[in-house]
Every structure is written in C-alpha cells, then in structure tokens.
C-alpha cells in the first residue's frame, strides 16, 4: 500500500481567541472536556500530565443503540512548547491505561494502534491559527503494533502474487 502508513489528517482553523486560551483547550481538562467529544459523546475523564513523556488519559462516553459505551485512550506528551506546539500520542486503552488494539475493541475506525496528534498554534490578526495534524505512527516504529504491519505485509504479498 505504498506510503499509506504515513498518511495523515491535517486541519487548519483560525479561531478568534488568543493562543494562550487555545493552548488551554488542549491542556486543561475542564476546557478539553467541553469540546472534544464528537457526535454527542461526553468526556467524563481527562487527565493530562503536562511533562515530556507524561501521560494523557481520556475517557469518551456515548449512548449507542446497544446502551452506554465507554472508550478509553492513553498516550504520552512528546513535545510541549507552551502556546506554540503540543505533540502527543494516542492509543485505545482500558480504564487503567493498558493499550488495547483497535480491533480488539471492535472499533469502526480502522486507525493504527498508535497515532500522534500534533497541534501548532500561531498568533495572527484577530486570533490564533491552529494546525492539527493527526498521523499514524509508521508501521516500523517501536510504538506501532499489529494491524498496520500485518496489513502492509498482506498487501505486499498480494501484490507480489499479482505481478
């Protein structure tokens, strides 16, 4: 699948708020909880240890046709430049923060076991330009587990057979 392993989602937004406040959106639990849950999901737990290597632990809760559902995420802070840049990893986990493969969770999103979120903030006229990049951790890095690699191998194998 060629360079799919390094695909990313990049979104740029200009927000009418100072960088210091936008920074808090990502780093202060009570603010993070207010916007992070998509599609009616709530964030009952958000714990951020704002040090390099420090843990992020987030719980997302939602109502599904099959009843309430909770998803836990764990990761660590890799870069912290206050009001400028925040980089953290994210994996699905259990309540204690043990990583669980997305497949084991029966998750609809087929994302890699570990992803990295990079947030860059720049002060602009009237507010903050925010660039968020969400990347899959490459399949050959130590943090990357199972699926990415397994699928890459299977794909490569299928391609070699077809040629």
């Amino acid at each position: 699948m060629s360079d799919n392993a390094t695909k990313d989602v990049q979104i740029e937004r200009t927000l009418s708020a100072p960088v210091s406040l936008v920074w808090q959106m990502w780093t202060v639990p009570e603010h993070f909880k207010a916007w992070y849950g998509p599609g009616g999901a709530t964030i009952p737990v958000a714990e951020f240890d704002l040090t390099i290597g420090g843990r992020r632990h987030v719980c997302m809760a939602m109502e599904t046709p099959n009843g309430p559902m909770q998803m836990w995420f764990v990761g660590q802070h890799n870069e912290i430049a206050v009001d400028e840049r925040l980089v953290y990893t994210e994996s699905m986990s259990d309540e204690e923060g043990n990583v669980i493969s997305p497949a084991m969770m029966g998750m609809p999103e087929g994302h890699p076991e570990t992803t990295e979120v990079q947030v860059d903030l720049v002060s602009v006229d009237g507010g903050t330009a925010m660039t968020m990049t969400h990347v899959g951790v490459p399949a050959d890095s130590p943090g990357a587990g199972g699926w990415g690699m397994a699928i890459d191998k299977l794909e490569a194998h299928l391609q070699s057979l077809a040629s």
């Binding site: 979104i11 937004r13 009418s16 406040l21 207010a34 964030i43 997305p102 087929g110 969400h134």
Partner: protein
C-alpha cells in the same frame, strides 16, 4: 454501512487462526479442508471462522458442490488503510465545538455545553 464493514473486517482480523487462513488464501484458492488442515480444530469451529471472514467480505466462498473453494478479497483492507479520511469529519466537528466554546467563554457566558456541566461539577461556577 461502511463503518459496519470496517467493524467486521477488524473483528475478523483479530484472530490468529483467521489471519493464518487469509495468509494461506493469499497463495491461492483453497478448500475448506485445506484451510482446516494446519489447525487442530473441529470442522464446525473451522466453518465458524470461515463464516466470520466471509461476513467481513475478506473471502468469497464458491458455490461448486462438495468442493467449495475459498478465495481472498482484500478490498476491505483498503478501507482500513484509509483511516485518516474517517477521522477528518470527527476533528472538524470537534473544532466547530471548540470554536463555539471559545466564543461563549470569551463572552463570559456560562458554557452551553450541558454535557460537561453534568459530568464535571467543578465547571458549575
């Protein structure tokens, strides 16, 4: 529908026996008994694994009587590789919410996000 399909594909791949079956099928079509051969498993157990792979759209089972060869179909794997496109709308929605929240916050209005209020009493001034 797409989510369901991905869900099925992931669930199907979450099992070493089924991954081994796919690996074998990547080499070419195989009958159920050929697929069963490497495993110390009952035929009903093998059949269940095949059913899971079939439901996930990862394999196709032929209709020839007796010998019903299985073949692999890798297309659901391409959707898995495209995880990023499924994440984009989620982030867009989050940032819309962030935008609205920032606006309220700076206007000094209590946040309209009742979800947060309920869950976090500290947010209730």
């Amino acid at each position: 529908m797409r989510e369901e399909r991905l869900n099925d594909a992931f669930a199907a791949l979450a099992n070493p026996t089924r991954r081994a079956m796919l690996a074998q099928l990547a080499l070419g079509e195989a009958s159920v008994s050929e697929l069963a051969h490497p495993f110390a498993m009952s035929m009903p157990a093998i059949s269940r694994h095949i059913k899971v792979l079939e439901r996930a759209g990862l394999i196709v089972q032929g209709q020839r009587a007796q010998y019903r060869p299985c073949t692999i179909d890798a297309s659901p794997l391409h959707e898995i590789a495209d995880w990023t496109e499924q994440y984009r709308p989620i982030w867009e929605e989050r940032f819309d919410q962030m935008d609205g929240y920032l606006e309220n916050l700076q206007r000094g209005e209590p946040t309209k996000n009742k979800q947060t209020k309920e869950k976090d009493p500290k947010n209730n001034e």
